[in-house]
Each structure stands twice: as C-alpha cells, then as structure tokens.
Amino acid sequence: MDQVTSQLAAIDYTIIVTYMAGVLFIGTFFARYVHTSGDFFLAGRALPFWAIGMSIVVSDIGAIDVVTGSGAAYARGIAQANFDWIGSVPAVLVAAFVFLPYYWRAGVFTIPEFLGRRYNAATQVIHASVLLVFMVANVSMMLWLSAVFLNQVLGWSPETGIWVTAIIVGLYTVTGGLAAVVMTDVMQLVVMFIGTAALLVLSLWEVGGWSGMQATILAQPEMTEDYFRLLLPHGEGTEYPWTGMVFSLGLVMSTAYFVGNQAIMQRALGARTEWDAKAGMIFAGLFKLLIPLLVFVPGMAARAIDPGLAKPDYAVPTLVNTLLPAGLRGLMFAAFFAALMSSVDSYLNSCVTVFTSDLYQKVHRRFTGRLLGEVSGLWLGRALTVVLLVGASAGAPVFGNFQTLYDAIQTLLSLFQGPTLAVLLAGIFWRRATGLGGLAGLTLGVCLTFFLNVLGDSVFPSTSAYLYVAFWSFWFSLIITVLVSLATPAEPAEKLRGLVYGEVLADSDTQALLEARMNGE
C-alpha cells in the first residue's frame, strides 16, 4: 500500500476529500427530519425499497471484504464467490417472505426483543449483551482499519485517522439516525461500484478478458481447473468443500445472517410499507450478484498479472497501483473508504438500538413502570451514539497490537449464527417451545460452537472448519431447545398470542393485541 500512496496525484486527494465532505453533507441533511426515537432508530418508517436494498449490501460489504475477499480469490479462485452468491440467495427470499412480515407485524425492532417476548428476559439480555460486545468490538476494529488506511493514503497518524473517521461518521449518525445512515450508504454504494467497476474493466482488459485470464492462470505451475469452479470436492484439505457451501453456508449461515443480524434487519424494518421491506431485501439479492464480479474477479486477474505476490491481500492494492490512472485511483480509495464508513455507521446505529430497546428500556420500565418517551428516546439514542463512538475510538488502537484478538473477534462473531437461527425458528414456528428451552438452546449452542471452533480442522476435513461448526451447532441448539421444552411446562396461550407465525400473519384480533403491546398497554 505504501507504493500506492506515493503515486497519488492532486486530483486523487481532491476526490477523496470531496467524497468525505459529500458524505458529511448528505448525512447531516437528514437531521431536519428526526424528531422522535422512531425517526432516529427506524427512519420514521419511511425508507423506500431501493435505499433499503442498497444499504443492506453496502453494510454487508466492508473494506475487509474488498481487500481480503479479493486476496482470497487471488489465492483460491472463484469458489470465494459462494459467500456472496449461494450465501445470499435463497436466504434473502426466506428473510423477505418469512421473517420480515413476521417481525413487521409483531412490531419487533430487534432480534433480542423477539427472544425476550417469546422466551424470557434472560434470553433477551444474554443475547443483547453478547451482541453488543461484539458489535462495539467490530466498530473498534473497523475504526482501526480506517486509521491504517488513512495513514497509508494521506500519511495521517493512526490516532488522527481514528478520530477523523469517528467525527465524520458520528456527526451524521448522531444527528440523522438510520435515515442518514441509509442515505449515505446509497451514495457509498454508488461510489464503491464505480471504483470497483473501473478496476474490473481495466484488469480484465489487461489480461485479455475472461478467456485470456483463464488461459494465463491455467498455464501457471500447479494450477488446476478447480480455480475456476464454484463447487469443489468434499475432501481433506479442501478450503471450501461443496457440502459446506451448500448445506452450511446456503442453508444455515446465510439464513442466520439475513434474519438474525440486527444491522441488516433494521434497515428493512425502517421501510415505509411491508412491500418495501420485502422488496428491499430481494433487491439486495440482486446487488449481491454483482459483488463477486466487482471484487473477486479483479483478485483473480491479479493472479494472471502477477502470480508471485508476497501476500494474496496485496492483489487489489497492486492492481490499483499498476492499472488505474490518476483520478480513478482517488475514486478507488474513496470506494474503499465508503466500504469502511458504511459498515461503521450501520453497526453503530444498530448497537444503540439494541442497547436502548433491549437493556435500557427494561431497566427504565422496571423502575418507572412506563416506556421511554419518544423524545427522551431520541436524545438517549444520540447520547449513546456519542458514548459508544468515543469508547470504540478509544479502544481501536488495541487492534493494532492484538493480531490474535482480531482473529478471535471474527470467529466469535460467527458463534451465534447457528444457535440464534435455531431458537428463532423454534420460537416462531413451534408453539411448544418454552422459555427454558430457548435459553438452554441458545447458551449451550454457543458453548458448543465455541468448543468446536477451538477443535477446528482437528475434527473437520476442511481448513474452513466454521462451515461445519455453524451447521452442527444449529442442529444441536434445535435439539436442545426441543428436548428442554418438552421437559418443561408449556407456555400459557396468552403469552404466545401474537408471537406464533400463523397468528401474527393472519389473525386480526392478534394484530390489535400487538398494537396494544407496542404502545405499552
């Protein structure tokens, strides 16, 4: 990256600074529409489908994906694309047609909130607390990455880079809430797509198109046709075996990601209508189709251009350095920064939502006997955003020292996918699931996931053991939830009203009850 830095021209710096100013302007513009906590957390439920879809994609694709994803494609080939292809569809359809209508009509704002209503407060608080720790750690980590990036591009010290990013993101997230986050995401997606599309076109041009790239790479020593295959055999040492891709990624991990990830779901719940929420989710599936083309194919082209890179992660920086002219290089860096900021703002907003809805609201209600007011909720949300951002910024330099901690965070983030999906499915579709069943399924499932992650490739044939861990932890959590539920008394019918799928979607009496619940009656 240092080589790239030295070749930035004045026009590149101008583009980067203009882009930052533009994000700030658009973000703060939406502050005028924020008057209540509903405006802040759910954008006043006014988001159109196209903004939701674009925001979901850009929140999902971070700067890490741009660099390490293309690096992984450089090393392993097109199989890397499974994470955005079979790892998105059919999950977005399940999210759009099963979970979104349910959350929408049940008036659920957060995933822990559902767990609390359906199971018990302990499940809600445990899930919310752990989720918060990981989301804050994730924001810290992304701020650190931003500091590294700004250090390389503009020569700023890491501390300056962290606080400048924090101030820019903080200003529009604090003032404009979810609407500002989503609308800046739209701008960031456009910038990201233009930058990466330029890289795709120029890199493919350089290697003689897809067939030229294929011929060049296959002529390299020890290279096989598998580099251009999406589905690879199930066997010892295979990084991405088809079984893991289809059964774990395609069925469990992706579904858990799209229906249980607060940062993803929150955008859809801010939709102006249920149709927009569903359409936004499906629209995101269309954009996800393009991500491997824009991010991973350039990584593969880098392999054709220079097969001897010191590290696969140098693929994109090398292409930027060698192929892009002045101006486009600045745009590419703006795209990289866009990917970073869009992830930071999304996770920050979701952190505050989870904290307010699932932790503070419970304490407030216990002591005062009433729900937090709309205006108080707005100011609490803003204050918490500042506090979380300052905390995450202060903790960000830690990630410069702990390489193992960074890896641990990535692994720990995946701990919840299988167990969360299991308790969500059981809670929504099975009336007999009980509070203790859900609590046991979630906690024991997370414990098993942690344990299996430690064992890793000493048990599973692939070096990407998490693929199997997510699959088995899902089934384990589901079985535990069922067994413990059957061994404990059934929940009273009144508690389940408005929380079981068929009722929520079809019963008008239940709808009236849900509205009353949302109003705190």
Partner: protein, 99 residues
Amino acid sequence: MNGWLDAFVRTYVAETRVIYGPALRRLHEPLDVWLGGLSIQWALVAALGLFTLAGIWVWTLRKSFVMIGAPDQRPWRDLRIWATLVLVPYMVIYFLLGR
C-alpha cells in the same frame, strides 16, 4: 498482558485439540468418507436444487400476501416475479461454473 493472553489462548487451544480432537474426528469421519465418495455432479444437483426449491416455494405464496403494502397492483409489483428474476442469474452462474 498481550504475551500472557496470547500464551493462554495458544495453550488452551492446543490442549483442547489434543484431548478431544481424535475422538470427535472418529465420529465425523464416516460422514466425510461417504460425502468424499460422491461425484461432484451431486454438488451441482444440490446447489441447483436449492435454487429451484426456493423458486417453487416462492410461487406457492399467495399474490395477496406478496403485494401487501404495494402502492398499486401493477404486475411488476409482484415480488414473486422479482424473486424469480433474481434466482435465474444465480442458477445460470452455478450451472456454468459449478460443473
């Protein structure tokens, strides 16, 4: 602190893998042997089957359900059509690159 934490994590991971790894490996191995013996064509069948099932399932949903909240009832608002249009390119890509 950094060194101490790293050393603890490394020791914990190594010990756990030595103690429990072999036993669980023996449990998982028969499944790996069976799956490893399947032709890669089964992978293509499984992936395309997943997309096809999703496509069929979407068309079992009622039109009134997928149109709730739509600003008007024009045919292009039917999200089942959207879902199908999204699924088709994925299926083509897997058909071409999954073999």
